[in-house]
């Protein structure tokens, strides 16, 4: 391989590339160019169809989404067709990207048309019926593979040869058994039905064509033909390895995220197809407040603007005030989550910090305790919440029972931890802290490993006591860990949902909205009230709150670091 500048030609120089066309690829390249021309024409047809909407006018959003998609594909195909014909250097990556994407989309569509995704649900049933022969097939294949490995070292050995034959025989017999037991009539029916549909055939042809084109353009011959540089080749290889994760990120994270932003500007209801653009209307609805003076305490909505509900009554500066909101529940949820944050984060972090100092010691049995304290973090939140719900039960719960035992309560007079507004949110705090402090402890333990032992030795020589060592050495040295723990725990606290969903009584968010959280509010808006647009707006408001909170913490951390506070 020779290297000319930044170009790697896998044996040929760029000059050779221009002077001597790769005749082996000549026909394939011409076919590929035609393939892209056909693709461009198909995309042009797609653009026309999207503009006209076919038989029925499309709603504007899918219409413009399709227009954007087909237009981009049209441009990419035209560019690829030109680039491939003209042997430009950028033609290979462009064509590769187009064909790879088309192959993935085509394969996905083909599987859908074959009903493959719904069949996944039947996989368990099918395997259950024919599990034994399936197991035997697997055993047979393992024998074959093992024999292959043995033969690689000793090609003439008789034992591995025999094992391979036995493996193939076993596999063949078991496979027939498996086919009979599994009864693939469903598969045959499905394939038979689907394969005759033009749409399926089209998707299949598209997948095969794009796959072949991808393979062609990925080949070394194509790399030579188009003079792909080393850096470009490395980038393509990297992107290829990244692509599965990238697809997952784009399809299941980035797209929904951006889509929810779009939806938040619409009066978008699950059951209503006429989705009206209302700009910041949803945000205004969520954030609108009204303050009015009142002539009496506990005044009602009559002193507020129309559409506002009473959020709270205040007596301030010798005047009665009524604070109202258009969405009272949202503001209550924000108040609740701030209280929760203030209580839960210290309870989830400080015990972890203290405990990690104990667990970091060399005392016997510490490994066992590390595991024990970590258990709540790996336990399922639903199961844990249900158990805590039973423990908090007013009549048959363990907490009241224990309080009875120590004389802090009377039998049958137990406190309703989850049903009284005064303690419902605090109960959630306890469960949250219990579930998270173990994980935080492990993070702090990791931080402990990075503290130089010399610091402790020097402190001991200087006569520092345990508290001074903890205060002056451990805590400052763990500042980075503390920052990370605080950030992650705070974000989890602000996104509280599952514990409240299971634990609150008599319904999620109860009693009387005492445990209502922003995520619960937006869930209820989205799925109980079907207001997807408003729920999306609430989600973005929450995002801004979390982002702002995190930014402030980052800023503080940076300020401390630059002022020399960070060791």
């Amino acid at each position: 391989m020779t290297i000319v500048g930044d170009a790697v030609d896998f044996g040929e120089s760029i000059r050779a590339r221009t002077a001597e066309p790769d005749h082996d690829l000549g026909v394939s390249i011409r076919v590929l160019a035609v393939w892209h021309v056909v693709g461009a024409l198909a995309c042009a047809a797609g653009v026309m169809l999207a503009r006209r909407g076919g038989e029925a006018e499309l709603p504007w959003m899918p219409k413009y989404a399709l227009l954007g998609f087909f237009s981009a594909a049209l441009v990419a195909n035209v560019a690829s067709a030109y680039g491939v014909s003209a042997r430009t250097r950028w033609a290979r990556p462009t064509s590769l990207a187009v064909n790879y994407l088309v192959a993935v989309v085509g394969a996905t569509t083909t599987l859908h048309l074959f009903d493959a995704y719904r069949s996944i649900g039947s996989l368990g049933d099918g395997l259950y019926k024919a599990f034994l022969p399936f197991l035997v097939v697997c055993v047979g294949m393992i024998w074959v593979l093992v024999a292959g490995q043995l033969l690689a070292n000793r090609p003439t050995a008789s034992g591995p040869l025999l094992l391979r034959k036995a493996g193939w025989s076993l596999t063949a017999v078991a496979f027939v058994w498996f086919v009979v037991a599994a009864n693939p009539s469903g598969l045959i029916d499905t394939v038979g039905r689907s394969i005759t549909r033009p749409l399926t055939l089209g998707a299949l042809a598209l997948t095969v064509g794009a796959s072949l084109a991808t393979r062609l353009m990925w080949s070394r011959a194509a790399a030579r033909h188009f003079g792909t540089s080393r850096s470009t080749q490395e980038a393509l290889t990297g992107l290829a390895f990244l692509s599965p994760n990238l697809f997952g990120f784009l399809v299941f994270f980035a797209f929904p995220l951006l889509f929810s932003l779009v939806v938040s500007f619409f009066d978008w209801e699950t059951t209503n197809t006429s989705r009206e653009f209302i700009g910041f209307g949803n945000y205004v609805r969520a954030l609108s407040l009204d303050v009015s003076g009142a002539s009496r305490a506990n005044a009602g909505t009559e002193v507020l603007k129309p559409g506002y509900q009473v959020l709270m009554n205040l007596d301030w500066l010798g005047q009665h005030w009524v604070l109202g909101a258009r969405d009272v529940e949202f503001w209550l949820s924000m108040r609740n989550i701030m209280v929760f944050l203030v209580l839960a984060v210290p309870l989830a972090v400080l015990p972890g910090l203290v405990l990690s100092s104990v667990l970091a010691s060399k005392l016997p049995g510490m490994k066992v305790f590390r595991a024990i304290y970590f258990v709540p973090s790996v336990a399922g939140v639903i199961g844990v919440s249900i158990i805590w719900g039973q423990m908090f039960d007013a009549t048959i719960g363990w907490i009241n029972y224990l309080l009875d035992l120590v004389g802090l309560s009377s039998p049958g007079q137990g406190h309703g931890w989850l049903t009284q507004r005064s303690t419902a949110l605090v109960s959630m705090v306890v469960v949250f802290a219990w579930m998270n402090f173990g994980f935080n402890t492990i993070l702090y333990l990791a931080g402990h490993q990075a503290i130089p032992k010399e610091l402790y030795e020097a402190a001991e020589i200087d006569g520092a006591n345990v508290w001074q060592i903890f205060r002056r050495i451990t805590v400052p040295q763990l500042r980075n860990t503390t920052f990370y723990v605080l950030i992650t725990t705070s974000i989890m606290a602000l996104q509280l949902f599952d514990i409240v969903w299971i634990l609150s009584r008599p319904a999620p968010g109860g009693p009387n909205n005492a445990t209502l959280t922003p995520v619960l509010t937006l869930y209820q808006e989205a799925f109980a009230n079907n207001s997807q647009g408003y729920a999306s707006a609430l989600a973005w408001v929450l995002f801004i709150v979390i982002f702002g909170f995190t930014s402030v913490q980052f800023r503080q951390q940076r300020d401390q670091a630059t002022s020399g506070g960070l060791s």
């Binding site: 069949s119 045959i188 009387n512």
Partner: protein, 468 residues
């Protein structure tokens, strides 16, 4: 092809065969059908067969049986889900193979079942036939998620007279006309009423009168309820006399029995502030502030099953759980008569409806009919979880014969004492109304709000449910 590739190919092929081979005889998806002769009009249908009067199912049969009708209910427990799966199989078995029924047990988790359905229905992925509680019929209808079966029922000459008419009032309600009309939103799956589940051992130990004897003697009223509950609570320890769960059903009993109601007569305005309705809340306040009941908001079922509660109010759906978990002498008794002069019981119901986006509406309609025949209802009644929605002697007999509880008649008595039908809110939002109402009552019963404040403001608070 090298061996590794061959091995991978074989494995993938095997999995594909397994995946597609599993469809044929699973419990939830069986070949069933609408084929066969055009039998009797559906009105007379009493078996589980689906008649084949529908055009599309017939066409499907001609085309080789390519129609799958998915259906879903909200069972209260696994046992009930299994019964519905069995029924699905039976309806299938009673018919040909032109249509495939696929039964999907829904979640047992209350409102989430409906929320999930709404989302699915709006996105076109909901089953063809599904069950919704009576209180949610208007919500689904208003959103255009369910099909008006009226034209098909009329074409079939379908007769609804054997169903409880309180349920049919709402199922034929025409929102535009504001009264029942030619609409048909579905057929009721079953009905239920409240009763008090008794811990006879605890009541006897407390020396209280047997509520069943009091009911027999016509002396079972609120005063008697409080008396029995007080005596049981006086046993001390964890024992409580009474328990109920915190939702609109038990709350509504007290309002109804006091002569009040959630709404005015035509269900267009709040009636929670009438003296009768306030009397109902006041009675609850008396019970829950007197340490004779499990604190309001706490689960009542668990302590009752644990044997520490004398009386627990719940519907028929709690019976299977009581049978499996209660290891003491238990029975049921009708609800005590309130100041209004009746039990004030509810007639709970839910209906099978057809998805408005169903590709096979007529096959779905036939399935709805098949699921509500006398035979099928009697079969479900034998499980003991529900009362048939058709007023059939045979089905009632099957229901009464399911013991324990010995006093099944208590549920039937509830049906015959002017129950209030669980009803949707055709003008306004029932979920919103019930949430605000529940919060208000909860605050009063937990001592966080005065009854006077509740009475003065509750209707203005619930007004939001009637807006927009």
């Amino acid at each position: 092809m090298n061996k590794r590739k061959l091995a991978v190919l074989a494995a993938v092929g095997s999995l594909a065969i397994a995946a597609c081979g599993g469809d044929d005889d699973t419990a939830e998806s069986t070949n069933v059908a609408t084929s066969g002769s055009t039998a009797e009009p559906s009105a007379e249908a009493t078996s589980g067969e689906m008649s084949s009067t529908s055009a599309d199912s017939g066409a499907a049969a001609d085309a080789g049986g390519d129609v799958t009708v998915r259906w879903r209910t909200r069972p209260d427990n696994d046992a009930e889900a299994q019964v519905y799966a069995t029924i699905s199989d039976e309806i299938d078995a009673a018919n040909g193979d032109a249509v495939t029924l696929a039964y999907e047990p829904g979640t047992t988790d209350g409102a989430n079942y409906q929320d999930q359905l709404v989302t699915e229905a709006a996105n076109g992925t909901a089953p063809d036939v599904f069950w919704v509680p009576g209180s949610d019929i208007a919500r689904f209808q208003d959103a255009g998620l369910i099909l008006d079966l009226g034209p098909m029922a009329e074409a079939d000459g379908f007769d609804t007279s054997s169903f409880y008419q309180e349920t049919m009032y709402h199922l034929t309600f025409d929102p535009e006309a504001g009264e029942p009309g030619a609409k048909l939103w579905g057929l009721p799956r079953d009905v239920s009423t409240f009763a008090l589940y008794l811990n006879n051992d605890l009541i006897a130990e407390a020396g209280a009168d047997d509520p069943r004897a009091l009911a027999e003697a016509g002396e079972w009223d609120w005063a008697a309820l409080v008396d029995v509950a007080t005596k049981v609570a006086d046993l001390g320890g964890e024992n409580k006399g009474f328990a109920m769960d915190a939702w609109w059903g038990p709350q509504g009993y007290f309002l109804n029995a006091a002569g009040g109601s959630f709404f005015n007569a035509d269900r267009t305005e709040c009636a929670l502030d009438t003296p009768e309705a306030i009397a109902g809340v006041e009675e609850m306040q008396t019970i829950f502030s007197g340490d004779i009941a499990v604190p309001y908001g706490e689960s009542g079922e668990a302590p009752w099953k644990a044997g520490t509660v004398g009386m627990f109010m719940n519907g028929r759906w709690a019976t299977p759980g009581a049978r499996s978990d209660a290891d003491f002498n238990w029975d049921v008794v009708q609800l005590p008569t309130g100041p209004g002069g009746t039990q004030g019981n509810w007639l709970f119901w839910g209906a099978y409806v057809v998805n408005a986006k169903s590709e096979h509406p007529e096959a779905a309609w036939e399935l709805v009919q098949a699921l509500t025949t006398n035979e099928i209802q009697a079969e479900i009644s034998e499980l003991g979880a529900n009362i048939p929605s058709r007023q059939s002697d045979a089905a009632i007999e099957a229901f009464l014969g399911f013991n324990p509880p010995a006093n099944n008649q208590a549920f039937i008595d509830g049906l015959q004492d002017s129950p209030t039908a669980e009803g949707p809110l055709w003008v306004g939002s029932w979920p919103e109304y019930s949430t605000v109402m529940g919060d208000g009552i909860s605050a009063v019963l937990n001592g966080e709000r005065t009854l006077d404040d509740y009475a003065a403001n509750i209707c203005s608070e619930t007004a939001v449910a009637f807006e927009g």
